[in-house]
Symmetry: C2
Amino acid sequence: MNEAEFLAALRTLPLHPAARGLLDDTALLDVGGPLVLTSDTIVEGIHFLPSDPAEDVAWKLGAVNLSDLAAKGALPLGVMLNYTLAGDSAWDAGFIDGLRQLDFNLIGGDTVSLPWGAPRVLTLTAFGTDAAAPPRSGAQAGDALYVTGTIGDAGAGLAIARGAEGPDELLAAYRRPMPRIGDGRALAPLVHAMMDVSDGLLIDGARMAEASGLALEIDLAAVPLSTAYRSFAGDDREARIAAATAGDDYQLLFAAPAGFDLPVPATQIGRFSIGSGLSLMDAAEAVALPARLGFLHTA
Amino acid sequence: MNEAEFLAALRTLPLHPAARGLLDDTALLDVGGPLVLTSDTIVEGIHFLPSDPAEDVAWKLGAVNLSDLAAKGALPLGVMLNYTLAGDSAWDAGFIDGLRQLDFNLIGGDTVSLPWGAPRVLTLTAFGTDAAAPPRSGAQAGDALYVTGTIGDAGAGLAIARGAEGPDELLAAYRRPMPRIGDGRALAPLVHAMMDVSDGLLIDGARMAEASGLALEIDLAAVPLSTAYRSFAGDDREARIAAATAGDDYQLLFAAPAGFDLPVPATQIGRFSIGSGLSLMDAAEAVALPARLGFLHTA
């Protein structure tokens, strides 16, 4: 089974209403108030490189989860850590230092030892409260699609981590993504749908459109690129498609009425309409979809 | 670092009050009402055998977590599953069947793929509500120590799983432990301290005594053994020590006044007093502690 097939099989189990059909990145548990739950597992050699510094791996695992909380507008409450010891004390100490830099509270978890030589498998589960929790599926026909920050920096950073020459700020965007907690808090009560961009702008946009039962058109020319990204990859259509399909951006992607009075800086990059599927423009010109809309973590 | 050293390092991070100093098997989050959280990670080759049927591995991972909820008297609400795909669809389908047999609600989680040949690392996090949540640390001087059910059956079952001849019911005790949810619900509001027996009666009893700042004397002769266990291992001192140090029992161990009016069947097996440390009797005779008080999952 691949991940999608296993997820389909999991959906045959009794699901808690909080799971919302396992269609969202987060679960929403009603216990007195709403509690937002999100969990990510990362595997050495799949989601991070054995050569990545332990501090950065810890930061990224934490940041990825906090980013899911940000997309629900939640206030982070704490995290549980499920950690595998692989017999390298310096790496373990570095990992804890990386967690410390993220400034969240530890609630619990589990620590286990691996057989010799086995890749690390690290799980972090984050809890958040006080969330407006806009769903992924709430976009309405006529809504515009917006994104915070810039897109493609982390993808360029991954290329740099693998040996390409490029500015440190792109490498930092890959290794030290900043969860948009404040932006999420400001946006969540106001928008129709929201999620974070983890696998790529195009694939995540397509997922929001599909969950909402709508068609989505994205304008490549409107996708916000950083100065550093332009200097690294250029600003032509190829560079824009690379940015929009690279993933690991951890920006917030949301649907709201066009001309919406934004509480935080964001860029309008597309529009939802009745129908289905994703289509791509480059200013006035229609562009064929690339074969790969984003990064899929399949081994 | 080993597990204890890593846990000590984790305690230098900011801890949420719900973590209770990371001294308990469960965290207790106050969100409207108290939410009990517990999480276990199991590793192929360490906590389960590659030859163990997938259904049984799933059952055991779920049961181990539900047993932690039982020790807090919690009503199970649902679970999150963090699953690693290892390229064996039949195993994956069997695992889901095992989960289905446990009859709980899935809330969320994550599914990832492993590099080829890597051992499975499986995490399940369980949530429970409406818990009286007696701490591990609440035993009082003069309290008796009680345990539900019988002890040692799963340890004998492990020997049978590894090839020894023995009755199926012992193998079932190892592969299909039954979380004592009903017993925990009945006991939790009434007892001073409670935990489940996961690593071994002696080591878990010693942990309760240490957390409570008390000495504990356990009477081997009083440790309840099943008829199947006696037929497999005998009833002498060696067999009783083996039972009390084997682990995987998932019975409830609790402290309450001697002569306590038990709401469910349980056996009085020891007594807490002022002081520290564990001591062992066999009826009227003092017995030296065995070198190993329980099963420690160190690779």
